[in-house]
Amino acid sequence: MEKVLSKITEVTSDPYAYVAELKERKGKKIIGCFPMHIPEEIIHAADMIPVVIWRSNESVTWGHAHVPPYDCGITRSFVDDAVRGKLNFMDGMVFHVRQCLQVGEFPLIIERNVKPAYMEILYLPPIYQGDPIKSYLLKGLESFKASLEDFSGKKISDDNLKKSIEIYNENSSLLQKVYEIRRDRPGILKAKEVMQIVWSSMLMPKEDHNELLKELLREMEKKTVETKKERIKVIPVGCLCQTLQFDILDMIEDLGMIIPDDDLYVGSRYFANKVRLNGNPIEALADRYLIKTPLCPTKGVWDVHWGDEVIKKLRNNDAKGIISIRVKYCPPHTCYYPDFKSKMIEEGVPEVMIDMEHEVISLEGMKTRLQSFAETMGGV
């Protein structure tokens, strides 16, 4: 297991070097997809490598000549990386500009300062009622496919797209299996290792990642874990389209809590819904996008309460509490949070919110909050 985890750590500890080297090794174009809802399968079917854009570990410097300090961490970090030339290995970038307002910062800044050979804009709609939404979504995805064909010079046949969907579906199944084993044997992997596993899926070619996961699963199935009953199960929840500082996950575990599952994008949400293989593949991708759960506050879902969904997850995992992780200056999460909190109070579910910032986070203050949270649940 150490060998696989060490490979995953290598990929995620320096994604810039890894992806740049990958481009050379595979001789394929790299397309950066700003998280969270870009259908990577279509890029894969055009014989290019989609990678999900990430937040760096460095402080924002040049980026502040382009975006204000009250944009969220990944917005500032991505712009900073881009204008410093750290993402020059990307042949293309894709932005879904209706996800949140801040994604709208990118098209001009990128085009004006570091325009890649390919830049595409998607306007995926919120999941509102009525026929216009789906037909508009389909048009948008068809147009995305056409632009990729144009850039790659390769026609994307339905068969090719289905093959890519199959590879991605397999990755989802394998990741789901990792999560199932962790649910049965919490502690088999550290929370940060699980996050790294999902993150590496966003960076690696899915075929390679599938092989890695198969090896990991073989090892996981053999491994036994000593059950520590006194540990309190908690579920981290958030709308962040980025990784969180691994120190936070370590801290949660060091304080006597354990994470059997999560409701995070760089986590269970990334692989939650597979794409059906029958019928028109573009329509199948649209149908996957239109699934309302796991609920994402950026997708305009009215009739499903995020709190209810999270409580279901809490109960399925026999967990005791929720840790809401909010990225500072994330409007979709911030607007939703009061209703989420009310639901937790109404249902008697212990919940605490911690704020995550890109540069400065008071780990000591966070530790105090998490410690008292664990104690109120009867732990530590």
Binding site: A65, H66, V67, P68, Y70, D71, V97, R98, Q99, C100, L101, Q102, G104, E105, P107, L108, I109, E111, R112, N113, I121, Y123, P125, P126, Y128, Q129, G130, D131, P132, I133, S135, Y136, K139, G140, S143, P297, T298, G300, W302, H305, K328, Y329, P331, P332, T334, C335, Y336, Y337, P338, D339, K341, S342
Partner: protein
Amino acid sequence: MDVQYKINRLEATNDIRPMVNRHWAELRTAKERGEKVGWASGPSFMFPYAMGMKCHFMAGYASYCGGIGAANEVLKVAEMTGDLPETCSYHRLHMGMAEAVRKGISIMPEAILPLPDLMVAGRYCTEQSHYAEGLYRRMGIRVVPVELPFVFRKEDRLMIRDFVYRQFKEIVIPTLEEVCGKPFDYDRLSEILSILKKTATIRNKCWEFFKTKPSTWTLWDYAVSMAPVIYMMGDPVGIPFYEKLLKELQDRKEKGIPAMAPEGEKYRIYWDGWIPWAFLGKFMRKFTPNGALCIVGRYPWEMFPHPELLDPEHPVDSVVDYMYGEQAGLAGNMAPKHSIEFIGGLIEEYSIDGLVMFSSKSCRMWNLSYLDVIDTLDKRCGVPGVVIEGDMIDQDMVSDSQIETRLQALFETIDGRRKRK
């Protein structure tokens, strides 16, 4: 000796407050008369109006609360009831007001609106529908959401136009028919647009007086006069109001009375972003002593700038083309790349000396890629700009010294460039 600048106040704008007060009072009392009530965001309120509903407009309500001094206490209610301070202040304002109604928390009576029978939640800004989602979750208020994307590339316009048209025709109108129990009144929508067309045509004649040097009125004068060309559309009182305003501006021009005494403005300023509704006086006091006059801006120019394109015979197309038409295309000006062309045009047309980009800390809708927009315009038009940070209505987000320092830097830059010419 330094020139002592001061603003010559217009007479006509005194008429606006009673008109606006009447509008909101009628909305407040609508349920007592058995009328249906709507709330709307994005430019979608004309559809409930056409059905005879009394309807609020999200930004209009915020400007009203800012103007009557109610914003602060309503924002405090929102915080008390769980909203986080960095949330969009328009969002917080609505949640605060609704929570005040629900929980019986005392706020200024003029700020209290009846909860709606239907919310037409136009999602123009991506964060704009969150308040409607919240009210649905908390109070079960019925919502009909409409996606209204900004157009980032001209080639996407037609696809988006078709989509928005279909949402109005296939979703919004049938929902209104169901809520009101009668067929949609296309004739009334046409009538509303006819009145708007007349009002905005006169308003455009008033805009011409911003081009005179010195200007005969200020952007703030226009900002407080916008209601008849936006959320009071369809009310014929807007026509005599703008006629009176036009006459006063003509008189001023003939008599040589500038907006800024004693002899007109030293700096002609373009203002970008929201209007700081709760702090108009405060901001004016930062500009006026320096001889700086705000005279034009992208947001105030959003209110039906092309009345000649309004076609009351095709009312739904007209509303959609206001946002997504080839010639007007308001939603295109929201995308930073196209805003550069639009602002560049205003700089030329209104002889602008400097740009002030008002960045709202709780709402980035107007502020996307600001620093790149400024840099591009400076290189293209030779006009410098600064970003000042604050908020439309939340006083806790406005820092005087930061704003003053940056404005001073702008004025010095303009002076420096003038000397070098």
